[in-house]
Every structure is written in C-alpha cells, then in structure tokens.
Amino acid sequence: MTASSFIFPHRHLLGIEGLSRPDIEGLLALAEEEVAVSRQVEKKKSVLRGRTQINLFFEASTRTQSSFELAGKRLGADVMNMSVANSSVKKGETLIDTAMTLNAMRPDLIVVRHHAAGAVHLLARKVDCSVINAGDGAHEHPTQALLDALTIRRNKGRIEGLLVVICGDIAHSRVARSNIICLQALGARVRLCAPPTLMPAGIERYGVEVFTDMKKALDGADIVMMLRLQRERMNGSFVPSVQEYFHYYGLDREKLKYARPDALVMHPGPMNRGVEIATDVADGAQSLIREQVEMGVAVRMAVLEALAGRLGNG
C-alpha cells in the first residue's frame, strides 16, 4: 500500500485496540513520508491549512504536547494549547463541560491527555470533531506505540518475528498496554518483566510471556523497552527503594549483555536516570531514545493527516 492511497477508516484515534494491521501499517507508511518532510529545510505541508487543532492536556506533559503542537504546525493547522491542569477544571468544571465549551469553538481535531482511563472515550462521545488520545490514565497511549513501532522498523527493517522485552512499571503504564497490542498486531513476540507488584492482573491473557527475573527476560531480546517508574511508587509502596529497584530492574551494561549483541534500547521518556536506566546505556550506542522523539513528531503528523482526510468540508 502506498501512503497516498491510504484511507484511515476511523473517526478518532482512541487506542491501538480496535485498529487492524493494515490501519497500523498505513499510518506507519504515512509517517515515513512525514519523516522526509520533517528533514527538509522547508518543513511544511498544507493538508491541515484552515483547520483548528486543540491540544487539551489535563496532565502536564511538555514533550508530548510540543510534539503534537509541532506536528500540527508542520501540517499547516492552527494549533491552540490548553493546559487544563491549572485552569477552570480546578474551579469545578467537569470534563464534559470543558468538552462542550471547546466543541462550541468548532475545532477540527482535539488532542487529549487525561489522568483517568476512559476520559478520552467520554470526551469523544460529546464532541463533533476527531479526537486523538494522547494518553488516558493507565489505558492507552496510541501515538507512543506507533512511534515506537516506526523507530523499531526503521532500525531493524522489520517488526515481524522480533523479540521485544518491556520492563518496568507495567501495571500503571498506558505505554506498555498500547505497545503490547501494537507489537503483537505487527507480529512481534512480547515479553514483560517487572516485580509482581508492578504487573497488572490477568496480563498473561494478552499472550505475552511474563518474567520477574530481568536477566532471563532479556535473553535473546532484539529490543529492550524500559518504562518510567513514578517517584511516588518507589518508596516502599510498590518497591522498597530506588536502590533495590535499580539493582534488580534497572537497565545497566551488565544486564544489557543478556540481550542480543545487536539489541536496541528504548524509553518513552522522561527518563529517571539511575532508577530504571543507567546513564551510559541511555546515551550509549544501542540507544534509540533520541530517535524516538524525532519519530514522535512524524507519527503524530501522520495521525493528524490520516484523520484530517476524513474531515468534511463543511
């Protein structure tokens, strides 16, 4: 399939769940084109000219928000950022009130991040425009999974048949959930590694292999994907201490040796250096972490463009 003939059959992007393999591959192909655009001096397309994109972030996130902002601007959209973390919601306005207010401003695309799982679904039911999930609670973060898939494919040439190990706080991670679904849809084998306190119930039903021993988990890995551990979970509630966590679950050079010699390291950011990943690994030759950021903009351009293709002219 060529990117130009790709028609995305959904009105919103609320999660990876529900997307078919052709949907995902179509978005990735389109994202490859966006990479090329982003590497030109003139980084501009006009597919979203005249369109309004609102970035509605109920949870602060500098990197995801700026990635979406840049993506929209490179496609010619008028982009407005709303950081709700410190606005009317604090004054008691509900999510639905906010949605209705924004809807009255007639946006074409709303990008939403919210701390509660399902918030994006709730919002999508109340507005007339396309909604993109930029992370809802511990549920999904679809553009992260897409950018991770794009980064892997560009570096390994394929995803089918690769062994991807996702390590860290799986229980609270939307990145892990979206990645598991996405990578499996594209034919990868997925392993998970975490202490049992950070492993969600019933996860083995996803068809993944579950490990608590990181060295065993990493055996034969093509890709090692590390997850962020939130500070409030480090001190005795889920794991005893940062020191103990890093000792057993932090990715350092020693543990990385258990993976394949050509294994590549990823992290959705922002990193806690010395907690889940050692600095020399994060900045080392096997790290793809900076490339993930670049692919983030490209994938978000692709998603915006794909959804814009379905917007009416009214």
């Binding site: 509900t94 919210h114 399902g118 939307r174 119930a201 996860i203």
Partner: protein, 436 residues
C-alpha cells in the same frame, strides 16, 4: 384506586404463590384493616367474598410483597438524590412493599431521634413501609458503637454502617457481643478498604485492558473470614450484606455448617450482570463491591437457588448526573434498582436457574425474617403487603420514565419479561398498572 380501608377488599382471579408454605394455586385473597383475613382457591372468582370490594387481578401471580433489605435513600439531607416519597413510588412500581433504609444519610441515622424522624416522614409521605437500619457505629465512622438498644426501641430493625466497612476488629467484636442483648442483627458490607485501595472494578484481565485499577476478590473474602471468626467468638447475629465472589461462598457455607447465626445477601446486579457489562467505561455499572466475572455470577445464582445465599437486595443507590457523568475512576459507585429488581430476577427464573418460589422468598420472607418483620407471608393475620405481577408481560426499561429521582439504572433499554400489575401495602393499593 380503591383506598377505603374500612371496606374489605377481595383480590380475585389470581394465581397465589406463597414461598413459605409452598402454596401454588389459583385463588383470591380477602383483606380488611390492613390484614390478610382469608385466602385460597375458593376465593378465586369475584363475588365469592361477600360484600368485599372485588379487584380483578387478571390471572396475575399474587404473592407476598418484596422486602428490600438494602436501599439507600437521600432523606434526610440529600433529597435531590431521593426522598422517602420518590423511593416509595419506585418501590411500589417494583412490587417492593417494605424498604429497609440504609443509615448513610445526612445526618447519619445513628440517633434515636433520627430513626423517629425517618419513621414519621415515612408515615406521612411514603407509599410503602420504610424501616430504617440504623448505624452500627456513630457517624458510620467505624470507631464508637451506636446506641443499639435505644435505636431498636425507636424502631430500627438492624444495625449496619451501610456501604462502609468496620475495619477495626475490636469495634466489630464488641458490637457483635453487645447487640446480642437485643437480638439485633448486624449487617455488614464486608470489604477491606486497604485491599480495595484505588480499585474501581473487579481485578483481572478486563480491568487491565481498560487500564483501571482492580479490586481483588480477597478484599471481600478476608473481611468475611474475619467477621465469621468474630461471630464464632461472640455469638452475635450477622448478615453479610453483599457477597459477590465464589471464594466468599465457601466462607458462608462453613459458617452455616458450623451452626453460626450467619446469613448472606447478594444484589440483583451481581446476579444478572458481570464485569463485561462495563463495556467502554459505563459509569452506571460501577458498583461497590464491583461486578465480578461471569463465573462468579453463576456461582451467586446457584448459591441463591440452593439457599446458601438467603436474600436478594436491590442495593438501590440513586446517583445523579453530577456524580455519574465523570470518568469511571472518578464517578460514585451505585445503581438504582427498586423498580427493576423483580423483573431482573425473573430473567433468572426464565433461564431456569432459580425457581420462582425461591426468587420470591429471597426477596420477601427471607429478608423479613432476618430483621424480624411479620411481612413477607401469605397467611391469615399477616400484614396485607402483597403484589401481583404478570410474568409474561414484556416491557422495555426506559430510564427516563423510572420513578426514582435519579436515573442511574444499569438496565436502561433492557428488555424485561414480567411486570408488576398491582402493589398493596397494609391493605391499600399503592400501585396499579394502567391497562395498556
């Protein structure tokens, strides 16, 4: 509506069912002064009861009215959610003739004066009998025992902290021991709040897929185990308000086999719905304790059928849009159920999982017995709290037309089979379905 209680009423042309005696036969019932005077096959035809005013039941099943052991009402303090009047209208339409009101009101029903207030307001405004279950601890805070004896004298029929769990084992131990003086049943929502944590639905694969924090089954089972040990120690009369998972049934079974004064209830929701009904974050399906797996649901149904679980409740809990139109994790749990509990229960009869007599018993005589009420029986001299329903009448639940002030039904747009035609409380007809 014939509401003249001085003239006897003859409910004729009915099919009588009394779960206590096992009676199933065509017949009629004669009522005067709020009391069942006579009933039987010989009273089936109109005109067979002398001068009594005859009411034709149209062949409907006539049985004891339902007794709902667990309903939350917003009066006093949260009348925007539900008043005693609006709850009674919903109850009457659902065949419920007695509501045991939970104490989680504002103020909490933890004082004889508040019990008195509720009883007076109910007398003046309610269509059905309302008896309060008073607070087990002051303010339902789980710390200090309430005045169990005085509350009983004021008219409370049980003590409970409603939707709150008494986590302090010492408080529970003493309450169980003390309540024995008055033979007052203690009804407990057994769910360890620490194990519930931030959980909002059943722990497992589906919660993980939705990215929602889970509530493990052990939160219930561990608290139930603790309570049974305390019952063993004290001999206090104990009723587990809501049992939801298979493991808890083993605990109840062992307690009953040991001859302990233990009974158990389950909500109609946990008998007819499971966690997958939450679908895409439907907040009306957020309940406490949460909906469990299909396997658990089937185990609950079987336990009701064999009598291991004694009672079915509506767990009626009105929540308005302000507390439900939120994200799943943030919304308040609870669903209304007074008006739909019988119809939902009849689904289980239709499916062949529970016998009709057992269903009615678990919703009438069994709860009445636990709280020491005379109602729930078809017997001469018993209160004339009755309902008639046509088990074959199909209807569609329309949330907007339900009588409760709040519309948070998990059965919106559900197809039901079986509808209440007539409800009588103390000899007064308080609900009569208009012929279509």
């Amino acid at each position: 509506m014939p509401n003249d209680t001085t003239r006897p009423i003859h409910l004729a042309n009915a099919r009588l069912i009394d779960p206590v005696t096992g009676l199933v036969s065509p017949g009629g019932v004669v009522i005067s002064d709020g009391i069942i005077r006579d009933f039987g096959e010989n009273l089936h035809a109109a005109g067979t009861a002398g001068e009594a005013e005859s009411v034709d039941c149209g062949g409907a099943i006539l049985s004891p009215g339902l007794v709902d052991l667990r309903a939350f009402i917003g009066e006093p303090g949260e009348e925007y959610r539900e008043t005693l009047r609006s709850a009674s209208e919903a109850a009457a339409a659902g065949g419920v003739t007695t509501i045991i009101a939970q104490p989680n009101t504002a103020p909490v029903i933890d004082d004889p004066a508040v019990v008195d207030f509720v009883l007076r307001r109910a007398r003046d405004t309610s269509l059905v009998n309302i008896r309060p279950a008073a607070a087990l601890t002051k303010g339902c805070r789980g710390q200090e025992m309430s005045e169990i004896g005085l509350l009983k004298e004021a008219g409370a029929v049980a003590v409970t902290d409603g939707h709150r769990t008494v986590t302090n084992a010492q408080v529970m131990r003493r309450a169980l021991a003390y309540a024995r003086i008055f033979d007052m049943p203690i009804i407990h929502h057994a769910e360890d709040p620490d194990l519930v944590g931030e959980g909002v639905m059943n722990e497992g694969e589906f919660a993980t897929r939705l990215g929602l924090p889970g509530i493990p089954r052990v939160a219930e089972t561990i608290m139930l185990e603790r309570d049974i040990r305390l019952v063993q120690l004290t001999g206090g009369r104990y009723h587990a308000a809501l049992v939801t998972c298979r493991e808890s049934l083993d605990v109840i079974r062992r307690a009953k086999q040991a001859g302990l004064p233990v009974t158990a209830g389950v909500s109609i929701n946990h008998l007819t719905l499971n966690e997958y009904d939450i679908g895409q974050y439907r907040t009306f399906l957020k309940l406490s304790p949460p909906l469990r797996s299909e396997e658990d649901r089937l185990a609950m149904v079987e336990a009701v059928s064999e009598g291991l679980i004694d009672v079915i409740v509506s767990d009626h809990n009105p929540q308005d849009v302000e507390t439900k139109r939120l994200t799943f994790a943030e919304c308040t749990p609870g669903a209304i159920g007074l008006e739909t509990m019988l119809a939902a229960g009849l689904r289980l009869v239709e499916a062949g999982h529970i016998g009709l007599k057992r269903l009615i018993e678990a919703m009438s005589e069994a709860p009445a017995r636990i709280v020491g009420l005379e109602t729930g029986r078809l017997a001469k001299g018993a209160p004339a709290d009755l309902m008639a329903f046509d088990p074959e009448e199909p209807w569609l639940v329309d949330a907007a037309s339900l009588r409760s002030r709040c519309k948070n039904t998990p059965f919106d747009e559900a197809r039901m089979m079986g509808r209440v035609q007539l409800t009588m409380v103390a000899g007064r007809i308080v609900h009569r379905l208009d012929p279509a």
